[in-house]
Symmetry: C2
Subunit: 460 residues, 2 copies
């Protein structure tokens, strides 16, 4: 059987695959620091060569920032999907360097109590993950002489610095980059164990505002008692955002929120999410969300409202008996389903302004909102990929949610009309963005095998 031979070749090639990954990891492609601009470009060049070495027509494409790497390879038939694969080749800075146990750019295999790990910056985020797909393609090509479908590769060099060139690049090359489905490898195993396809991503709406009451700061000896304090008003507004059950009170906030389908709910129950450990690890006891929702729903499938920052009055050392003129806050809403960021912004502002005493004003510093992304798992590709993953790993694969926003999936959907399967093999303890980043050898090896299985499943 053709898949078996590819898997066997992947197993045999692992030592060489690790060496190739080390080559890429040695390039200091820190995208946030201009001192490393040449290194970022070198990593792009390395990837172009790497793709070309397995017969993919690849080139470095310049942007106003760091370059993109784009590759194309033809497939044998027209009745199989055209796949886009996305990863990023830039890495986070390595500070504080003194907390690393070895040079972050001198990667090595290390034996640990939990097994072999690949240590070094970018091992997990995202060079190691990106290379799982490349290595799967290499083995497939070697075994069969050609890849099983048309594949477009898109490697970005600015993911860690906010992807400033991504949207313009997708706009300018929409036709070239539009495929049937996207595979994105930048996520992890659920609880470091269960293979997962992320199909729900929450949207995000942010509000940043300042309330003004008195026209200047007042002395509480002269005005204390008679003057309304903007911090008191702001506190009432913020405290009133949730009721006693943890639900958000802003009228209309839940419009467009959808109930979880029963099959997804059953899958999530089966994940046995250990919320006590999840919270206990950060010093918390009880879930804070809506009381009638499971902890996983609270993170993945329910909308939230959180205050990300608050400030007003005197905040330095010692004391100042000031009644401040202003008080400010930054809020964000995580959105799900069909919630409309614009409608929620309007609803929140109506709520806020109805709480202002006569004469008080509010100034908003508007931030852009984004809707939630939900993939169409009725597309048979999703179930094929899920079963392929289940074949590789001890646990059956699950469709999961993601409480955060992964903008690339939204861009693919909105700009290229393309659903994404977010599949990755990172573990919770990979220490991405931190010193001593690692990627389990198990993740790299079984990740590569997983992609071979998925390519096989999607094109059979």
């Amino acid at each position: 059987m053709s898949l078996d031979s590819v898997l066997t070749r992947i197993d045999q090639n692992m030592p060489d695959a690790v060496e190739r990954l080390f080559d890429l990891m040695r390039i200091k492609s820190i995208s946030t620091d201009p001192a490393f601009d040449k290194d970022v470009e070198a990593a792009a060049d390395w990837l172009v060569q790497e793709l070309q070495s397995i017969g993919i027509a690849a080139e470095k494409r310049l942007t106003t920032g760091h370059p993109m790497v784009v590759g194309h390879v033809d497939g044998p038939a027209d009745d199989v999907p055209h796949i886009l694969f996305y990863g990023h080749y830039d890495v986070q800075p390595v500070d504080p360097l003194e907390l690393w146990d070895r040079d972050p750019f001198d990667p090595a295999l290390e034996d640990t109590a939990a097994g072999k790990v690949i240590r070094g910056r970018g091992s997990s985020d995202d060079k190691g993950q990106l290379m799982t797909f490349v290595e799967a393609c290499r083995a497939w090509k070697a075994e069969h002489g050609a890849l099983p479908c048309k594949i477009t590769f898109l490697f970005e060099g600015e993911e860690e610095s906010g992807s400033p060139s991504l949207v313009p690049f997708l706009q300018e090359n929409a036709e070239e980059l539009s495929c049937d489905i996207a595979l994105i490898c930048d996520t992890g195993l659920f609880q470091s164990k269960v293979p997962a396809i992320t199909t729900m991503l929450r949207g995000l709406l942010a509000e940043d505002f300042t309330i003004t009451g008195p026209s200047r700061d007042l002395h509480s000896g002269m005005y204390g008692g008679i003057a309304m304090n903007p911090i008191r008003i702001l506190s009432k507004i913020l405290a009133g955002l949730h009721d006693d059950t943890g639900a958000v009170t802003v009228p209309g906030f839940y419009d467009g929120v959808e109930e979880l389908p029963e099959d997804i709910r059953a899958q999530w129950q089966g994940l046995n999410f250990d919320h006590a450990s999840y919270l206990g690890d950060v010093g918390l006891k009880a879930p804070a969300g809506e009381q009638d929702r499971t902890p996983l729903e609270q993170i993945w499938a329910r909308p939230t409202c959180d205050v990300n920052g608050v400030w007003g009055g005197y905040t330095g050392d010692g004391f100042k008996t000031v009644l401040p003129s202003q008080a400010s806050a930054k809020l964000s809403f995580r959105l799900v389903g069909q919630q409309d960021p614009d409608k929620i912004r309007t609803a929140f502002r109506t709520y806020l302004e109805s709480a202002l005493p006569e004469g008080f004003t509010v100034e908003y510093r508007t931030e852009k909102g984004s809707s939630a992304s939900q993939m169409s798992i009725t597309d048979p590709a999703f179930e094929k990929a899920r079963l392929a993953l289940s074949d590789e790993w001890p646990d059956p694969a699950a469709y999961v949610g993601c409480g955060g926003s992964i903008p690339i999936a939204g861009f693919f959907k909105d700009m290229l009309n393309m659903d994404s399967m977010l599949i990755g093999f990172g573990c919770d303890d990979d220490q991405i963005h931190s010193p001593n980043e690692k990627y389990d050898m198990n993740s790299f090896h079984k990740g590569t095998r997983s992609w071979a299985r998925i390519l096989d499943a999607l094109t059979r």
Copy 2:
């Protein structure tokens, strides 16, 4: 009649009195800036000579900071009260200098639409006010050869820099400085018009605390919905401090609050306080205090709770989807009557801690509290002084409150067992602590006459 001749002499001497005040105002006695230490000392020396010139045994007394000036003069009889007079000879810095219309230390008489004013730093706070009493004594001495009672003078040179030497000096010289009653000249006319004796000063209790929830800052994509946010808890605590009628909700907070005596309440009604202008001048509409209390009660006779500062999470430019580990606030309570700062601190902490979810902690940075001061106006000296003031000014004098804390009155009470009469002639537009400080010639002249009348009334 002896008083009349003193008043006539005051009127005749006014030009010379203004020149003497100008001499004192030319000395740059800025106590907060070490560059002016010699000037502060020069002002003390000037006052010693000034008091000696009218027969008062005065000397400069060294402290670890700026010197005190202490003077003593004997009175003719034992059946009249021994009076202590307090003022301060240091002044505020003059920045921003470019906003002054003339050199702050080159005083002058100016004609304005509202009458003649003495312009320059310290004209109102407190050199001009201090000299009203000295000039009254000078005229009395010249007219009668002796002052009408024993008087102790205490002039401080550190009032504008927090009076660091005052408490130790009072402790070390308690016997020497204890008199029957203190006169303090550092306040103003009520609404720039009505002569007033301040008899109630609110106390102050401050709390500065930090609430900790999660053990580190969290990403709202990973934890939003499930993790309790300390800003949400803090907002609930702060929002819950007042009920819908403006009353403070902390259990036991009103223990020791006393109702206003009927005669004082009637006097305050007679003041026709224009709270709409008072609030309108700072951009506010409605009084924020307890709804069943008059605006003057809210400022002078009712306790308050105000948030002076609040901070937590990300407060810089742009956005960060952080769920912070901590949130902090600075609160202060203005106290009245017999409210006990220690009991209120305990009551507030009990209230706060009962609102913390399991696992949350709070850390306090304790600030000292002070009780309210209330003078014993049953002492006949108060009513004598009030009638004397009423004889001098177009409006009858009133007993008033002060929403702030004037520490010196509390120190005299607590350390020297001496009530204080706070009487001053400043106007609301004197711009003390600001550029273009002034003192109305009317304040200086009628202020001097007022003290002659009060000396007469207290010793007749």
